[in-house]
Subunit: 538 residues, 2 copies
């Protein structure tokens, strides 16, 4: 089975039911599938061949949903680019993946200006929406293409997508996922948290980030109707839930926090919601308890990473009820400020191992490793980095965790130097390498600090060169030119020197003002104002 079979099947079985609705316009499975076929035909007619890479840069739309299915049907590889990426990052990905085509919506066209020379290597740059100003237009292509299914060599082991994550070594790297790996994860998700064809799903997560594409495909797999929001906006989400009688939605914890605030300021009828899922970053326990109280719907948490190909463990609705519900003392999770990320899902094997890779016992802290059929095949053209994380079929996640006696997995630290802010991964090394380029900077260390809204906030500790007086504002401006917004430090602290080990390694543990997870004292004050920092956007 390949991903295109999902939409083909729906077009056959329920042609007149609505596949998705965007900005008030519904698209049936029959129409959506025909448009998908047309796009696939257009792309192939540019001379693209099996497993050629096609990048795209767009907020959510019905067209973006079509792009995912069209690439899958044509046997082309989807390379989503995070909407927050700056020109320099876009150019890096296009080069690294050797993209042959790019689809872009008008909001992002200005970012292409500085990288015009990189675009020359592409077979085509396609403007997605009205007013993009590019020579090739999406709807024009569709109108002149064939509505028949494309002939393609796609099979279950074809690469479906290469997803770029922030890089541990300062450069983003692309994790490779095949049709089979992707479908394994989707069906596994569907049987753990079942959907019915009557479900009405709200897709407010950006499709190119995190599990957005998985959600789109999972909803389609059960032929549910999906309401697509262009961007996350808490008021729009609550309005849509009330208006469309939404039954299922999935968000990152920061978005849940925004919903709680919005609901408090203007309550809506959320009684249609059967299940609200969240994941993608550590979830403060106080936030989830507050959300259960204020939003009043059943919740589940799922946990995974790009490299795991999706969810590998679940903190179920029953877990929420029995462990976090009202009147429920979180005895088992005493002293913890974040929820556990759940228990191992069927189909996966999670172990906690020591630095030699040997399994540890329940309660002992070590690196979380996982086996399962959805794991990425590796990083695109990075055999060395692939070997570091994929060993004998086990993926080394870089998360330091322990499994308690009941099987709940608690993440207590991160081995690799990574921050998860608003559900997006930020590697310290990448941020450090940009700041290090500033002429006034002598040394820099970037860490994540707990943040009730973002989960973690990026903080840079900077030692200036002797005599330099450069301000935090100046450094932040410098970062803004070179880093996607979510990677930029939210605060900069100047130090005389960085704390170091005797061998000269920076002691990041000392730099973290506090550590989320169990190292935090249970009595420590924890501010849950749930207010986004000024200017913060998701």
């Amino acid at each position: 089975m390949v991903v295109g079979d999902v939409i083909d099947g729906n077009a056959r079985r329920c042609p007149d039911r609505v596949a998705w609705t965007f900005q008030g316009t519904p698209w049936t499975w029959s129409t959506a599938n025909e448009r998908v076929n047309r796009l696939a035909d257009s792309l192939l007619s540019f001379g693209l061949a099996h497993e050629d890479r096609v990048a795209f840069l767009s907020h959510n739309s019905h067209r973006l949903a079509e792009v995912y299915f069209a690439l899958a049907k044509a046997g082309l590889i989807a390379v989503p680019i995070n909407a927050k990426s700056v020109s320099r990052e876009i150019a890096f990905i296009l080069q690294d993946v050797e993209a042959r085509a790019l689809l872009v919506s008008k909001e992002f066209v200005p970012r292409l200006g500085p990288i015009e020379s990189d675009l020359k290597r592409l077979r085509c740059v396609i403007g997605l929406d009205e007013g993009h100003g590019l020579p090739v237009d999406y709807e024009d292509l569709l109108s002149s293409a064939s509505p028949s299914p494309p002939s393609s060599a796609v099979h279950e082991d074809s690469i479906r997508a290469i997803k770029y994550t922030s890089g541990t070594t300062g450069f983003p790297k692309g994790s490779i996922s095949t049709h089979k790996q992707f479908l394994f994860n989707i069906t596994n998700y569907l049987l753990h948290l079942p959907f019915t064809p009557e479900d009405r799903c709200l897709l407010a997560l950006p499709m190119p980030a995190g599990v957005g594409a998985q959600l789109l495909a999972a909803y389609a797999y059960r032929a549910c109707q999906t309401f697509i929001l262009e961007k996350f906006d808490p008021a729009q989400v609550l309005d849509a839930i009330e208006r469309e009688r939404i039954t299922r939605i999935y968000l990152v914890p920061t978005m849940i926090a925004a919903l709680v605030n919005e609901m408090i300021s203007r309550p809506r009828d959320l009684s249609s919601v059967r299940l609200m899922g969240y994941g993608g970053s550590p979830a403060p326990m106080a936030l989830i308890r507050k959300a259960m109280e204020v939003l009043g719907c059943p919740f589940y948490q799922s946990f995974g990473a790009s490299e795991t190909g999706g969810f590998i463990c679940y903190f179920t609705p029953e877990d929420h009820q029995h462990k976090l519900g009202s009147g429920c003392e979180p005895a088992d999770f005493r002293g913890k400020q974040v929820t556990p990320c759940g228990r191992e899902a069927q189909g996966f094997h999670i172990r906690i191992v020591n630095s030699e890779g040997n399994p540890l016992r329940a309660g002992e802290v070590g690196e979380m490793v996982v086996r399962g059929d959805s794991l990425m095949s590796g990083y695109w053209r990075r055999p060395q980095e692939t070997r570091e994380v994929l060993r004998d079929g086990w993926l080394f996640t870089g998360d330091m965790a322990k499994i308690d006696a009941e099987g709940y997995i608690h993440i207590v630290d991160r081995k690799r130097d990574m921050i998860i802010s608003g559900g997006l991964n930020v590697y310290s090394a990448e941020v450090e390498s940009v700041i290090q380029e500033h002429p006034a900077v002598s040394e820099v260390a970037v860490v994540g600090v707990p943040d009730p809204y973002w989960g973690e906030a990026v903080r840079a500790f900077v030692v200036r060169k002797k005599g330099e007086t450069c301000s935090a504002e100046e450094l932040l401006r410098f970062c803004a030119d070179n880093l996607a917004s979510y990677k930029r430090p939210q605060s900069i602290v100047f130090l005389e020197a960085l704390p170091k080990t005797s061998s000269g390694k920076v002691l990041k543990v000392q730099l973290r003002s506090e550590n989320w997870g169990e190292k935090l004292s249970p009595d420590a004050p924890h501010d849950l104002s749930l207010n986004p920092p000024a200017g913060g956007s998701l």
Copy 2:
């Protein structure tokens, strides 16, 4: 992923929860898994190698459940033998599949007497339960074996099972299914008719027949508790549902009929049943409506065959409610005596084709063909028969069907000469070849006739040799020595000559007194006494 991962995962995640209960004794996942490991180790210690065939002959028990998982873990191929098989049939399968080992429960040991020479080729014959009288005992083996997981070369494309079906050419043939094909079907089933780990499942279908093994594995996949019944008995089933608060059960229509009778004679509390599934043979609409009324639980029907690797379409609980429910006129199914078998499931592609293999339009009758990842790889060492049914990835089912405008699939006839009686397939050719061996018989033709209890009953039309007066009783005795009970004719009709075409082909259509499906007049009287024929057993 391979099948053994399912039980390994449960033993890791919920070691102390009950996996299955048999005759009042519960076995936890931890204990069950250890016993499975021990059996796998024992079998391998007899010198069995990857993909060696291991046959077994037993009613349901906790040990039979262990056998399935142990063979899967050891990389050995399960060859279930239908409990109704006679010695001649058992010998044929052991030879055809080149079995290396046999597991047998005591009830079946007498059937091994006549085929002792065939057993000499086996590495071992293992007695499953107390008092079997064989030299090698199951529990003895387990107690001396290693509880650690066996080291095996099993992978997703390893063959998991070879299931023998009645043969179109007079001999049974074995359909080959891999771990991957089997797991695709199970997870597909689970996401269409979801289970939760809190479900309490009753396994009353014989595991070696039909979808028994699929059900066992599906229940295990979601870590549900399974209550195993040795054999189907309507009173025991209803007692177990009431006593154990069963939530899920799957049966063949004939068993549903028996439950209806039993419930009428002694009502039980079936309020715990969340979903009752059925399939395996045509389901009379009157029976299902009566069952909905008398048993009062939600029903679904699923349809598939050994060759499809399990279910490929579903007639859902909502379909039952909207199409067959009380106060609901079966307008769409007017003139039909059997329910449609449902609509195509996600992950499969079903087509109705003409004799040239070209797709027909909605409403037109042709052969049902299907694509999907659970289809068998082929028939064991029968390339010719495999080529006949598997062409370009499409399985030709031999069922003549049409798909209506709403997508419901109605089976109207069977292309191959097969009868489905009590959920078991009987090929006319196999029965005819046995009867033909009787010295008094000149010609014979075997057809299925509608039967309110069995779905279809086997009827033989016999032309005796000139001067021969052999009775129906004598022919039935002859069949009893050579055919499993479900394959034996339930009636014999003597004729002076068989109706034939001008080219001499027997006109079976004339022999069928009436035909189930739409050729039947809607006004035809249809007796739904639901009484099993005297001496009938499932």
